[in-house]
């Protein structure tokens, strides 16, 4: 199946279904591993599916194809979302998701480009993936390549200084082969306290993120990160923009897809118990038995 072409590729409905199934894979994987990040992977899923199933020029059978588009999950703690999409895209078997966080696994807690097929840059310490992605884009241009480098950052991640070091340099070099997508799910792990201990404040409010990326000279687009049609159109606009880098501020919901996880900071990292697992999967139109059979890809 080709990606990166307007003619070929799954329909919006098919992409939405892939995202739905991807969310179920995430929840099963975290439950099986008995640990891991959940809220962040869930908020990122629609964007990842759009990228890997429609927009990016990639070859799963040739993960190191030199002319491929690159993707860097700079919010590396959401690794299970990336692994899920890579598995669904057949970079490795879907059953391998059960090895997430296991000893000797190819699926490490944070993305490891040395061992996982399809991972273009290691990440985990926030901000660093974006810096690496900037280097990929800079190198790609210097090598005369025309691939696009997409980097997904978290909104909390934008607290990190290195993000702004890289943002400045990207704009200075007018890197229009670099697209930053900020998963603006309005929560970080713990964050600033609101009116009560359980009311945690967003890392940035209102137009702050849009304003700050604009102030650094980036073209800024916004999108509803869960509207597949809008996601596709906006990323394509970003990809096709010339003259400088583009930042997409994606308005998302942490824990998207599972009612009791949505907007709940407690689900940054948390293992669903048996009942929570059953309910979550049911809401996603899936069952647990699919997991024990290796999961429907």
């Amino acid at each position: 199946m080709k990606s990166g072409s307007k003619e070929a590729g799954p329909s919006v409905a098919e992409l939405e279904d892939l995202a739905r199934r991807g969310r179920a894979h995430i929840i099963r994987a975290i439950a099986h591993a008995k640990g891991g990040h959940i809220g962040g992977p869930l908020s990122a899923m629609d964007i990842l599916v759009a990228l890997y199933f429609r927009i990016m020029r990639i070859r799963p059978e040739e993960p190191n194809w030199p002319d491929r588009d690159r993707f860097v999950l700079s919010k590396g703690h959401s690794s299970i979302a990336l692994y899920t999409v890579l598995a669904m895209r057949r970079y490795f078997p879907i059953e391998e998701l059960r090895t997430f966080d296991a000893i000797d696994s190819r699926l490490q807690g944070h993305p490891d480009m040395k061992i996982t097929p399809g991972v273009d840059m290691s990440s985990g310490s926030l901000g660093l993936g974006f810096s690496g992605g900037l280097g990929i884009a800079l190198g790609g241009r210097a090598a005369g390549k025309d691939f696009t480098t997409y980097v997904m950052l978290g909104d909390g991640e934008c607290n990190e200084g290195i993000v702004w070091e890289a943002a400045h340099v990207a704009e200075r070099y007018a890197l229009d082969n670099l697209v930053a997508i900020i998963d603006h799910n309005k929560l970080q792990q713990f964050g600033w306290r609101g009116t009560t201990a359980s009311n945690r404040l967003p890392p940035y409010t209102g137009t702050q993120l849009v304003d700050r990326w604009s102030a650094f000279g980036w073209k800024v687009l916004e999108m509803d990160g869960h509207d597949m049609t809008e996601v596709l159109a906006t990323i394509e606009t970003a990809r096709d923009h010339r003259g400088g880098p583009v930042a997409l501020v994606a308005h998302t919901i942490k824990g998207k897809g599972v009612s009791f996880m949505e907007g709940n900071y407690e689900w940054h990292t948390r293992v669903p118990n048996a009942e929570e697992l059953r309910i979550a999967l049911a809401e996603l139109g899936e069952t647990e038995t699919a997991a024990t059979q290796g999961g429907a890809s």
């Binding site: 480009m113 840059m121 310490s125 690496g132 280097g135 884009a137 210097a142 290195i162 340099v169």
Partner: protein, 316 residues
């Protein structure tokens, strides 16, 4: 015997990468606004399209170099040693060492002599830190000749490298007959009374100290250790066995640097007392080179003094 004067190691760096860049299109240089000091500017003059100014932002400087390496370039990242190792350590760790990317981190201005800038611009524990970094190779050349050869060797070597250079000129210890070998220690002066392990430009000062000591009847077996990682354990053991008395000397901290490395090896394979001469758990300060070397015990005469004291204590 007076050693011939040599160029500063940072100049050798700039000239050598510029030279290599003529025939190897993979070589790129990234700079953090210090090119006129680190002499990365020599490469910029020769190959402006392959020189990348990254501004005063070292964490991103190192991270971006990693990204460039994934597209097939051999990035030489140039800044002061303190900024590369202290300020940008996480970028080195997560983006260069962990994925084992082919980036050469060049710390110009290492050790005690950073042109009077003082303690903020000095770093003594860079060798210790980089030595403890998995997947890292650590090279500390003594003079201009060795620097040129070492750069060729690390370019041929695939994997992360930390190259520790200096601001000031160093007398020439080596001539064109020298053959630098990555990972090998070198006997630069055979002797019988005490084994002196040294690294970097401190080896040159130890060599000059040897002259003074010889006149007093102390014959030092001087071994230069340009590669701190991987360490030439066999060479170190052999050299220690030559005399049975060991002292190390470095323009760096005696905690975890060359002294630490030698002590680790010998404790394991040939336990002898290892006296560590260098900077003892201290920050530096501003001052002219000679005054600093004198005050911090690393000048030729102070190095001779340290070796003499050790030998006399052992003989007593």
């Amino acid at each position: 015997m007076t050693l011939a004067p040599g160029k500063p190691l940072r100049v050798a760096f700039g000239e050598t990468v510029a030279e290599l860049g003529k025939t190897d299109p993979r070589i790129v240089v990234l700079d953090g606004d210090l090119g006129s000091s680190t002499r990365a500017d020599i490469f910029e003059d020769a190959h402006p399209d392959r020189f990348f100014q990254m501004g005063i932002a070292e964490q991103n400087l190192l991270g971006a170099a990693a990204g460039m390496a994934t597209v097939g370039f051999i990035p030489f990242v140039s800044t002061f040693a303190c900024f590369a190792v202290a300020r940008a350590l996480d970028s080195i760790r997560v983006l260069i060492a962990q994925p084992e990317l082919n980036v050469k981190v060049v710390g110009g201005y290492s050790g005690l002599l950073a042109g009077m800038t003082g303690k903020t611009h000095l770093i003594f524990d860079d060798i210790a830190i980089m030595r403890a970094m998995p997947r890292m190779t650590v090279v500390v050349p003594a003079d201009e000749v060795e620097t040129r050869q070492a750069i060729r060797a690390i370019t041929a070597h695939r994997g992360p490298v930390y190259l520790r250079l200096t601001r000031q000129a160093s007398p020439l210890l080596f001539d064109d007959s020298y053959c630098f070998e990555l990972g090998k220690a070198v006997v630069v002066r055979p002797g019988s009374d005490v084994t002196v392990f040294a690294t970097g430009t401190q080896t040159v000062r130890a060599f000059e100290a040897a002259e003074l000591l010889a006149a007093e009847g102390i014959d030092i077996h001087l071994v230069h250790v340009p590669t701190l990682k991987p360490l030439d354990a066999d060479g170190i053991v052999q050299a220690a066995q030559a005399t049975g008395f060991v002292i190390t000397s470095e323009e760096g901290s005696i905690i975890g640097g060359l002294g630490g490395a030698v002590a680790e090896v010998l404790t394991d394979r040939f336990p002898v007392t290892v006296k560590r001469h260098g900077l003892a758990d201290i920050f530096g300060e501003s001052g002219p080179d000679e005054a600093l070397l004198e005050k911090y015990g690393l000048s030729v005469t102070r190095t001779a003094e340290a070796i003499r004291a050790f030998v006399r204590a052992r003989r007593a």
